[in-house]
Structure formats: C-alpha cells, structure tokens
Symmetry: D2
Subunit: 472 residues, 4 copies
C-alpha cells in the first residue's frame, strides 16, 4: 500500500518504579514510528505541571538528549502522527490545553464521524480553534463535560457517549493517565506492565521495545485509569461489539505486534494461505513486496508449496525526507526504493504478493522491473479484497475516483499492470485472518457497510478548507 | 535599561496597489525588531484564506525567501515579541484562530488588567487555552461578541468596552484589517499610507523603512478599519483621555520614531535638558550609555554647555544569542558589550547619562571601566525618575524588591555604584519631554498612580504558573 | 556483524547524453548508502571547473534540491564514507585539490599498506597534510608523477605501481573521468552504461538504481578512462591475480549487487548451504538476523530442509542518529532495533544464522530475546569462519584482543552466548561462495595470510594520532 | 565605506595562569568581529595535540558552549575572516596542517604580493592546494624551511625574508605561539598581557574585551614567541620602516582600538579637523554616516564650530544575514539600514561626513533621504582622499573602473549624488591623522605608490579562477 493511511501511534506510562518516563516514551515512540512520520511529541507530568515538546519530524529528529533531560515527570504520553495532507505545525500532538480544572494533555488516534458538525456546534457556543485536529474538539468537550461532572474520567465517559467516531485516546491530567477506545473499538490500544508501572500503547511492539509485558487490550468503549493506586476501569460504554479496523492486520500494524490476542504476522500469513487456496497458480517462486507484502507471501508459499524467496531488495535508508526523482527520471528507470534480485528471478514464473492496491500507480513499474530482471511470468496476488469504498475513520483515502478497483475491472487492472494474472483476497476469506474471532471488524472499505452513520454530503477530507497553513 | 521590558511590535498592511505585502511586512518588522527579539510572525490573507508563518527567533532568522514567497496575499499582519520569561512556542503571534464566522489573525501589544480573572471567566464557560498569551483571551471575547453582533468591528468595539487594560492590536479577518487601541491608549499605534495602501505600525520608523508616509496616530479607544474601500473609523470608545506609557519616549521606541506627534529623539533630548537644569555638575565631558542614553546625553550637553563626546563603544554585533561570560570571567574583567574610549576620557571629569535604573547591577562595573580608562570623576545622570513601582501594562518588572530605587536611597546607590554623584530626572520634569501635551501619560512606575484599577493580590507576573512549557 | 567496517562507496559518471549528472549521482549514492553513513559528497566538472559539495551526514541530509541545482556539469563523482573513528570534517570526499596541471577531484575506497611511511616520505619532501585520509597521499603522488608524465592516466599508472595497498578510486580531471583498482583488486568497482554514457560504481545496485546496464568490472590493476570519445583502458598493472575482499560477499555489499560476475545474494545462499552441510542440526525453524544474516539463513533452510521463517523484526527506521539506550536501560530490556516474533518462535527449536561474529557483544541478548519469546533451543550458525586476524585494507577491526574468536574457544563462546550450539563456516568452504572462481580472495582476516607485506609494528589504526580533530 | 574590505582578525593566547583559553578567544574574536563576518575558527593546543573548530558564520553562530568545552588547551589561536568573493568552506582559518615536525595551526591577515607565482613555484615542486587562501602557501613554505632549520621560528624568519607582501600572522606549534608581521608591517598586531599570560591580537579592543593590558605592538618584521618561559623576540627582519595601511585608521579598526600608539578614534577626529580646515562650509549641523563616519563628523564639528548631532539612525540589528530588498523595492524607498532623524534635520543646512567613497552607489539615496526629512542643503565631506588605485595587500577593491573617483570628476560625483557640495581629505593632510609619526604609511590606494613591487599583469583578484567552490 502506498502512503495513504492517516494513522497515529499512542504511548502512555504512569510510573510507580522510578523509571525515566521520557526516555521510555522516546523508545516506545520509535517502535511506533511506522504509525506516523510527520510529527512527534511527548508531554510529561512534572508533579502536577505538564511540560511538553513536539515538532514536525521523525522521533530521532524531534528529540535530543537535552530535550529528554528536561522532560522529567512521573507520567508521560507520547504521540507520532502521519498525515497525507499538509497540516499546520500546531496539529502536532499531544495537545496540551488549560481548562477550568487545570491542564490536560491529549494524544489521539482516529477520526470522529462529523468533525465539521462538531466544530460548528462548538463555535456556536463561542469556541475558537487553533488546529485542524479532532483532538481540539475532544478537549473542548472534555472541558465542558468536566464543568458538570466530578472527575475527568466521568467527563470522558460522557464524551465517549456523545462523540460518534472511531478513535483511541490517552488523556494525562495532573494526577492521572487515562486510556479510552470508542465504543466500537476502531483503533487498537493495549495495556502493558513493567514491574509496578502501567503502560498504554497502540501496539504491543512498543511494549516489547521497552521490556514491558502485555497485559490485555483496552476493550471497545472502556476507560482505563492509571494512577498512583494502580489501574481501574469504567466499562459503562462497552457494548461488547467491535468494529476494529481490519486494515490494522492487513497493513498498519507491525508484524511483531499482537492485536486483540492475534498476531499480526499470523493474520497476514493466514491471508496468504486463503489467497493461495482461492487463487492458485502454477509458478516457481513466491515473492513479496517489501515490507508490507512479505508475510502474506510467506503464507502463500506455505499453502501453495511453491518456494518462497527474495525477489525485491528495498533500500534500507528509505524513510527519511528525500528528493524524489522527477517524472522524467522515473521514466528513465531511476528507482531508489526497490531493486529486483535478478539472481533469484531469472527464468522463473513468479507470484508477487502485496497487501493491497489503492491507486495502483506503482504496480506496472514493479512488474516491468521483475520481467527485466528475468522473470518469465508475474502473477500478482493481493492479500486484501478490492478496495472500493472510502474510509472515514482514520484511513486517508483519496476521492473514490482515484481508487483503482473502483475505476477498473480486475481484467483491466491486470492488463494495465502488465501482470500475467491478478487476484484479490475474497471478502468471505477476511474472517480467516483471525480464526475464531466472534466480534466483527470494520470492513467498510471493501463492503461499503459502515457501522456508524456518516453525515450526508460529508466530503472525504473532513476538514477540507485550508483554514490556515504554515509554510516552512 | 536592562532587557526588562515586555514590549511587542505590530505591523499591518491592506494592499490596494499590488505591493508584495509579505516582503514589506518583513522589512517593517525588521525596523521594529527593537520591540521584540523572542519571536516573529507574519500572517497573510490569501483571497480570504489566512496563511501564516511564525517561530522563535529574530526576523531574519524566522523568515527566508522561500517562506516569504509562500506568504502571498492582499493583506498582512506581522508581530515581533519580547518576553523576559520563558514562553511556549505557541505564544508566538499572530494568533490565528477559526471561529463561528471564519478565521482571524490577531497581533497584540500590551497587557490586560486581570488576565487570570478573564481566563477563569472564560473557562467557566467552557473555554480551553493553548497559550499563555492575552491574545487568546481577546480572540475568545471576539468570537463570543461576534456571535451577537453584525460585524467584526462591532464585536471588537464591545471587547474594548469590557476588557480593561493597556493594549494595541491588529485583527485581520478575511476581508478587513482592523487596528485598535485601548480607551486610554497605553501603547502606540500609528497609521501610514503608501500610494493608496493603508498601513498600521507600532512606530513610525516602520513606515519610514518601507517608504510610507505617516498619516496620524490611532486615537486611544479608536477602531480603524482598512478594507478595499479605504479607511473608516469607530470612535465610540474614545474618551479623549490618554495614559500613553511614558517609557515609550524614555526607552522603548526608536529615536527616529514619532509618537503622537512628538519625536522620540527630541523627547529624550528634552529630558537631558531638564536633567542638566535640575542636576548640574562641573565636568569636562558628557557621554551616554549606548544606545539608550545617547540622546539624553546630547540634551544634557546642550543645556550644560559641557562638550558632548563618545566615551563608550558598543560592540555592534550584540543582539544575537551569545554565550554570556561566567561570573568568574566577568570578575576577571571580561566585557563583551561595551568598551571605554580611553583617548576621550583620560584625565576628564565625566557626566555619564543613562535612561533609567532598574536593578542597577551593571552601573558599578561601568563606572569602574570609565575610571580605569582615565576618567577622574564620574557623575551619573538618569533621564527618568526613580523607578519605584511595578508596571502591569506591558513592562516586565521584577519583584519590587529587585528595584534598586526601592531598596536603596539615592546616596546608597551612588556609593554602591562608585559614582561621584548621582541624580535622577524629577517627576515634575516628565512633562517637559513633550512640551504642550495636554493629555496625560501613564507614569505609574514612578508615581504608583495607576489609571486602571489593578485586581487585588494580582501578582506581578500575571500568569505565573508554568502551565506548560516547551523545551528546546 | 556490528558496525565495524570502514567501507566507502564510489560513483562516477561521464555524461554524453544530456543527463543530469548531479541528480543521478545523488540517487546512486543513496543506493550505496550502506557502504558509508558518515559523510557524503559530489563533485561535478562544469566545463573544466570542478565544483563540489560535501558534508557529514547521510546522502538525503547532505544534499537538497538547491545544492543539486548548483552542481551542474558534464561529469560527476560521488562518495559516501563510513568511519569507525572520529574523523575531521575535512576527511569527507571527494577530495578536490589544485596541482601543477589544474584541478583534480578524487574519491577513494580502501587502504594503503603503509600510510605513515608514505606520509613521512612525502613530508620529508615538503608536503603538508590537512586530512587524515589516504586520498591526500594519493593526490600528492598523482601531482608529483604528473609533473614528469604526459597525462593524468600515466601518472595514475605510476602511482598504482608504487602505492601498495587495497583500494579502488575515481579521479575526475577537467576533461576525463578515470577509474582504477589496485593491482590485486581488493575493493570492487564496476562499469555501467546508460545510453552512450559511461558510469563507474562500487556496486551494481547503484547502476540498477539509475536504470543503467552493467557492462563489466574494472579489472584488478586496470585503469579505465571515460571521456568524450568513450572508454579506453590501461592494463599495464594488471597481474591477473585477485585479492578481492571476501567480506564484500559476506557482509559489505548489498545482496542485489553482482561483484565480478557473482550475485552477492547467491554467494550468501551458498554459504548457508555449506554451513548446513558442515554444521547440521535437528531443528524446526531457520531464521536470520536482519538484514545481514537473512540470505545465508535462506540457504541453510534450503539445504537442510528445515523451514525458513521470520523470527526477528527490525525497526525499519534504524539508520539515523539516535539516542542509544543507556547500559541501565539495556539491562531493563530496552531494545529498539530488533524484536522477536513470538508467534513464529513459540515452542520451536530455532537455527539462528548471522553473517559473522566480531566482538560478539550482542549475541547473548539476542538469544535471550528469542528464548523469552518461546524458542526452546537456539542453534547459532555463522556464515563466515572464525574472525581471528586484523584487516589492514579497509575493514576497521579493533585490537585483536577485542575479537571474540581470538579471546574465546568456540565452546566458550557458545556458553557465553547462551546458545544450544554454535558453528562457523569452515575456511575450506569459503570457495563454495563463488563456484568456479579461479582467481583468489583476500581471506586474511580468517587465515592471517596477507597478500601484501604489512610494515612491521604497524598499528591497527594506521593513523593513530589524533592529529587534529573537529568538535561539533 | 561599503563592505569592500578583505580584512581578518587574529587572536592568540599562551596561558600561564590557568585561564580558559577557548572562552577568552571566543570573547576576543567577538570583539574583533568587525574585521571579518564570513567565517570564524579557534584552534587549541591540548598538550601538544592541536584541536580545532571552524565554520562559516559569525562568532556566536559558529561556536556554542559544547564546542567551547571541547576546545581545552594551554594555548589557542582564533580567526575571523571577511571575504568579498565567494570562498570555499575550506578557506576558514586557522589552517591546521601536519608537516615533517608535527602539527601547525596558522591564522593570517593580509595578502602576499604574488600568490599565483608562489603557488606555481610550489606546484612545480609537487605541492597540492586545497584552499584558495594564502595561508596554505605560508604553511608550505614553513614546512619546507623547517626541514632545513632548527626551530619553527627560524623557519618563519626565512619565510618572512622571502615572501613579499603585507601580512600579519600567528602560528601555533605544539609548544609555542608565534606572532609575526611582514617587514613593512602592513597589518597591525599587538601584544597584551593578563597576569602572566601573553596575548596577541589584531587590535587592542580585543585585549580590553578580556581585561588584558596592552604591552606594545609587534614591530614590522618582528617575530615574537610566547612559550612557557614567557616572551622573546627575533628582530632580524626589522627594517625600521613601516607601510602600515592607513585605512586601518580611516575605516577598518574599531574606534576604541589603539594602533602603534595612536587612538583610532583620535585619528578619525583629526581627519575631521583637517577636513573642516581644508573644506569649510557654512552650515547648521554636522552629522556622520553611522558608524564609520561618526568620529570624523565629531572632529569636523569641533574644528568648524558647527553643532554636531544625530541625523541618521542605523538599525541596530543589521549585521546578520538578511533578505536584501529587491531593486524594485529599493526604488520604492524601502531602506532597512538607515533612517533620517527628521526632528533634527528639518530646515537645516547639513554637513554629512563619511569615511570614504569607493563605488559611491549609496550616496545619492542617502542625500535624498536627508532632503526628504527636511535638510535644506547637504554638504558631503569625506574623511579620506580620492580612492583611485587598487589595493593588493588586503583590501578587496573591485576593478578600477568601478571606483567612483576614477570614473568621475569631483564635480560629476557631487552632481550625481545630489549634494550641494562635496570635498575630500587632501592627501597632504593624511599625516595629520597621526601627529608626530615618522615612519610612513601605505597610502597606495590614494597615491598609486606601492612599497612592494606588484607582479606585472597581476589581476586585482589574485586568485581569480573559481578553482572549486562549495554550494550551500
């Protein structure tokens, strides 16, 4: 998948062992860097005062030792953000705001269903907005609910009731660290423990990175509060239902993470298995598009019995800001990301596995590269179904007209890409990714069936107007 | 005076001639750089959309050609800010906020009388705050007033009525550029014109820098609106009174500026005249402390007949961030800012003129330096009265206990500094700075008589709590 | 292998088609980034004038579009450098020097046998040195030879005769681009072609990145000149022998490169085959240490019939400057580079393949991580022989006392690492990496047999004295 | 004078009291910043090892506390460099080179008479050059002389004999700090003392900045060596003659410096006296162009009896990199450097004093500004003679055709500038700047009489070819 998602990574820690919260958050955010490369931030609670640092850039670029030394505190939350659209620097999180009862720092991953409606409502009540982030909406509702409730967690519970959408969040108040998922649990959030210290993270790989143990996931609708007494939970918004985004398994999460009890790696291998069953082909080698197609390729190879191998080498320094080759250069075969491994491809019929096709703009070039390197046939297999519908809850999808699967038939795509065959995972096989799961998924991008009502006339880019932007 | 003031510089332009607003604002802010070295920002109105760029640093450091090229628009406002206390990056101005009716950019200079009270009031109504700047309070009030008024200028007029304090401000809405001063006119703001284009600036030196002509000052309480039809004015808050900060003449403004019809240079020369009359001395040479004491020294020389000369040379690269000499180094005579001009001082009895004494920490060293260079006597003359009272409206004064004039008698100061004599401008001579002025000044720092009631128990640093801070 | 090598990457292009040389060099250097992360540089020949830009940092950090736009020219050479020791910024290459006949830019990879001796000789003749790089020695010899020869290539040929060592280099003069390898060909260098334009590169992956075709390798001792007439060659120093560094196949080169006709990927797979034959084990899964052990792991799996799988996930953002976890944090299990894939390891007997062991400091932790993730046995297999001897020709090896294989027996290492078994590739199996090769390799780090005499008492760090250093 | 000079500032310290050499050098270089704004550097001698840091930029930008902490040592030399032409980063000084006997750091101010000839000679002997600086030539000669002499100071003495030109320099060897001036003493260099520690500096203002006492100047041709035993001197190259650059008094040096016993301030005042005598005018006010014309204006006022005053205010933040107004903007009266002080000028006949006219490009605008501010007449007085001849020894003068005084008669200049009269200091009055001086000056830029023979056909820009350049 191209860089089209609009994910974020969250991390929070409430220290009861004397750990260095800022450094642990730093390492955890680095483990979550794949969830957001646009900005990074850490806020700490220094004896009731919230101090923070955030900026555009990757985690190692935003923080240095001097900054981390300043961020001393008993609790910390951190955030990495990805954004497909240009955003103002003010959008970096955590968002720290002062309100009636003190200071709050909020880190957020997801999307609310009707941001324009919510903003309009708040503005009619005298609100002013400085960012284009949903987080500011949440902090406003928290501030207003807090005026008529006794605790911040009560206020948050009321917000969860009202604010339709798919989101996970962390709220740090002067004395508490609170984690929550929307009642349908679109976005993941898990609980970890290191000695007596409780931790929240978008993915378990962040727990592994700092040597913490996985305890359990936050339940959809659950509010979990960590404070000096340990952990307690508010479950009044828990419905028992789930609309976990299936794309977390397919693409977003790191393969070494475990979400709601299921290994991401295994889910992808299972997709490969299912794909091999539903779309078999006679071939000599199965390869994956690095890095997102590799696990499903392993699954395809296992199920099909065709040997798995390396066919494409990815430049391991990709990830930083880079002068992109011009169109002219790309046409002259300049490719800085992937290279075909001719030694392994020469004379072979190849199954090429990728996780999804959104715009489909790079498939043609990839297949041409493989054939130039000696592959005699290239059979493309996609470990997710046809991507046909927009996502309103966190995935940043272009206009439906830009979706390859919406514009073209499978046959047309196959021909356009220069593939010898093309097949997608069947929708009915999505369940096989997580065997035995009874709660559902959000699969709306494949099916068009949304679990939450979407406001009519809502544009895909919810906050379309370039209200204010920062030039750098 | 040491760097203790908390001034800001404002500039706004509504183009009707095809000028490059961002570049003109850039040059104008550079001319106002003395009013604020901590952060700089420019917001432009690009056909109804407000785009901005702001950051910590001096004007030349914050902007480069690429950024200025992006800031295209028909109107622009700019801001330079000084702050004695550590502030968050979010405090840089202009503050751009979205509210019920669109987007506003605000640039502000001054202080409101009861910021904590105002914040508390707004928070009780559900407001959240992201900065520690008064500007956010103003934008909130503007947003709330705007809901029940027909125009932004009406809303602003209501805000002026309610919000006690000493401040000037510029508000840029998608179609208008609005300038206003509080009803007592604590902070300066003038109107300029370049061809058919109207301009607002804190000081006339910014008009000169861009080749604009001075039209007049904005009146205390006046609201002046520039739009495509030209200029019009709302005067319903004008009282005819004035509490213009006398320190604008004494220290803040550039000597080549003209404020409310009076040359700052001449006001300082007049102060020197008055000082020479009230505190004469038999001496061979009058010198000033560069740069703030030079004009008054010229006045002292003129009136006394003692020759004026150069006694101290200032390093002309002072102004940028610099590693300050350690206490140990300072004791070993390391001085990077000023050097005595021995050729001019040797064997002379010197009158040393400075604009004011706040903490008085550098006087001793300065006089020692002059005597080492050969001055036989040093008579210190201060072109403002004893600084005895805190300022709540824009000058960032330390605790009263840190004011030299509060802690020590004139005799003690003279002895501590090692001066042969010491004298201050008399309060009754302040009027002589601006001959013929009938409207008053705010002279509260000398007299303790405030024109606006100060909330009881208001701390000197109004927003004392380090609510959130940014570490860099 | 840890970051102990001192490799460099070279690229050169002599344009005859109107290509943008600087951009192509930029993309090629990015493809060679694995050969050097400390500094990067590009020099272009702009109609006889050599212009250059170089600095510390990764390729994307050193160059931006503005810089590349300035680097216009008909020919270009580029360089990426790695250095284990602190070097002065002046050491960045290409080294551009003016001499009797004009200007030369030189890019260099390797090491000469007796740098101190050579410097001493030159200094006795009045030379002064500004860098700690061998390249400066080469430029001196080139300058001196050039005085008594007719062409720069003749001069270079004389230098190759005299200057013992293992090195490849590119020299750009105002009208020519010249490539050369030392007579034993320690370091790789290949020739590519894109339309009518000739290209030189350390590895073929750089040719692939810019869509150029591989022509052949520069022969050991050969000098190849590209100019407006095309390519010609001087072979008088070619011996027919080869001491190509075997570590290019084992670790240095990218797997998608082809060196002297052999795929690096295949060489590593062959090493895995040989290892599986000589050191079989009964196990359930073969995994590699990413990225350097993956190819050999695939080979081990193929030969042994044990399934290959993913057992360790590497953070894909590793590669940039990063605050390393403190010893205390590492002991508390903070690991930001690798994570075990528990889903794949649980209950399995694992073969863990890595390319080499130098200090062996991370093996213990890695095996502990695998066992914590559920591996019941971990059998370590190293796809190169015991690393016992220092390298003087490009690999930056610590004192022999730091080599794990020198300090400990295989049994001790196995125990220290906590492995269930440990085996290395046998020296006699090194030949199997490149089947059919008749020319030899340099295998001195395994055997202690050096093809070039090493000066007695030569220290491992040839230029030990910290002659001058730059603090940043 | 516009920024046309190519000066440098030197500072050296040999500590015998436990001072922090790097910090003292930093403060001293800041005091010398007016002599060079392009690059700055400090080298220290850390127990025989020379460590250094240098870069493009102003002193406060090149160094920070971390860097200074690293630069620990018993001796230090520092350098600030100005350059009118684009130079490579490698040209920053001190130049640190290793040669036969160890390491040398050299800091240099001036120019040798025949750089191309010297380079050619050295290149014929096998030298290679990495910079475009004369310093590299000097280090080569030092290295070559050192081979056949017993000490570095002997070698330096031989170099002084051979190398025609006008230059001062500091050489730091592992155990000594050596200062020298060419036999005619074109550039200043003085000796200071702080407790038992000896210091060298281009100007005395650097001594004052660090609290050191002025001892004496280094004599023309003298070599002064500071080491652990104190100071000693080699005088075999001293001729007793002097060709000190008169422009040091007129423009280069800081007014608070004393050169060869004469106050720079007083020399300028004397020039003003002489000018008032030779070119009197009936006027109301004497003003100077800040900062370079102020002292002579004071002198003119004293002698003429016309009151001295401030007529132009300079933006005190000038000095840093700045986006210059476009030609179009300048025509629209955008001026960011100077502003007229209308309050002082209105209705007055003004004498405007500047130090020199080189290209004369800004005079017209300046006079227009004064008249717009109300001056009824502007009489321009220049405190140096007509600038008619190129300088080969340190001043970077454009082609003779660009010199206003060469292209136009005085009458034409006066008319072009829009002045009411124009007069220059007479050549015969130059002596009056330093009453009683018997040794001469270099006044070649006014007279065309050079004390050293200039190679025929020498171009003004001695090292014209853009041999290699760095793009940033």
């Amino acid at each position: 998948m191209s860089k089209l998602h609009e994910e974020c990574g969250l991390f929070g820690i409430y220290d009861r062992d004397g750990f260095d919260c800022a450094h642990l958050t730093y390492y955890a955010l680095f483990a979550l860097q794949h969830r957001g490369q646009e900005s990074a931030g850490i806020a700490v609670n220094d004896d009731g005062v919230i101090i923070y640092h955030k900026d555009k850039g990757l985690v190692p670029d935003v923080f240095n030792e001097v900054v981390l030394q300043h961020l001393k505190g008993r609790a910390a939350i951190g955030h990495v953000r990805y954004s497909a659209s240009d955003k103002v620097r003010e959008d970096a999180q955590p968002l720290v705001t002062r309100y009636k009862k003190g200071t709050l720092a909020t880190a957020y991953n997801g999307a609310i269903a009707d941001p324009i409606g919510e903003r309009t409502k708040l503005e009619s009540d005298g609100a002013i907005f400085q960012t284009s982030s949903d987080t500011e909406i949440i902090n406003y509702y928290l501030a207003r609910e807090r005026i008529r409730t006794h605790t911040i967690e009560e206020a948050l519970s009321n917000v969860l009731k009202k604010l339709k959408g798919g989101y996970s969040l962390l709220v740090m108040s002067p004395r508490k660290l609170i984690a929550a998922r929307d009642p349908l649990g679109y976005r993941p959030l898990c609980i970890g423990k290191k000695q007596n210290t409780y931790i929240f993270a978008s993915e378990t790989c962040a727990l592994d990175a700092i040597g913490a143990d996985y305890v359990r996931d936050v339940e959809p609708g659950e509010i979990v509060i960590a404070d000096e007494n340990g952990l307690h939970s508010i479950t009044e918004n828990c419905s028992g239902k789930s609309a976990l985004c299936i794309f977390e398994y397919i693409y977003f999460a790191r393969p070494d993470s475990v979400i709601e009890g299921t290994s991401v790696y295994e889910a992808r291998v299972h997709a490969g298995h299912a794909l091999a069953k539903s779309a078999p082909v006679d071939a000599d080698l199965v390869i994956g598009v690095p890095d997102s197609g590799l696990c499903a390729a392993i699954g395809y190879a296992e199920e099909s019995g065709i040997p798995y191998g390396t066919g494409l080498i990815k430049n391991r320094y990709i990830g930083r800001t880079f002068i992109q080759p011009s169109q002219d250069m790309r046409e002259k075969s300049v490719d800085i990301k992937l290279n075909a491994l001719a030694a392994n491809l020469r004379g072979k019929r190849v199954v090429l596995v990728d996780d999804s096709i959104v715009r489909g703009t790079t498939c043609h070039k990839l297949i041409k590269m493989l054939k130039k390197a000696g592959a005699t046939e290239v059979h493309m297999r996609i470990s997710s179904p046809l991507f046909l519908w927009p996502c309103y809850f966190g995935t940043d999808i272009p206009s439906r007209d830009e979706l390859a699967a919406y514009k073209y038939s499978e046959e047309e795509m196959c021909k356009n890409f220069g593939a010898d065959s093309l097949a997608f995972l069947r929708i009915e096989d999505l369940a096989s990714l997580v065997p035995g799961r009874e709660k559902g998924f959000c699969e709306a991008c494949f099916t068009g069936k949304y679990d939450i009502e979407i406001p009519q006339n809502r544009s895909l880019k919810s906050f379309q107007e370039r209200r204010f932007s920062e030039n750098e």
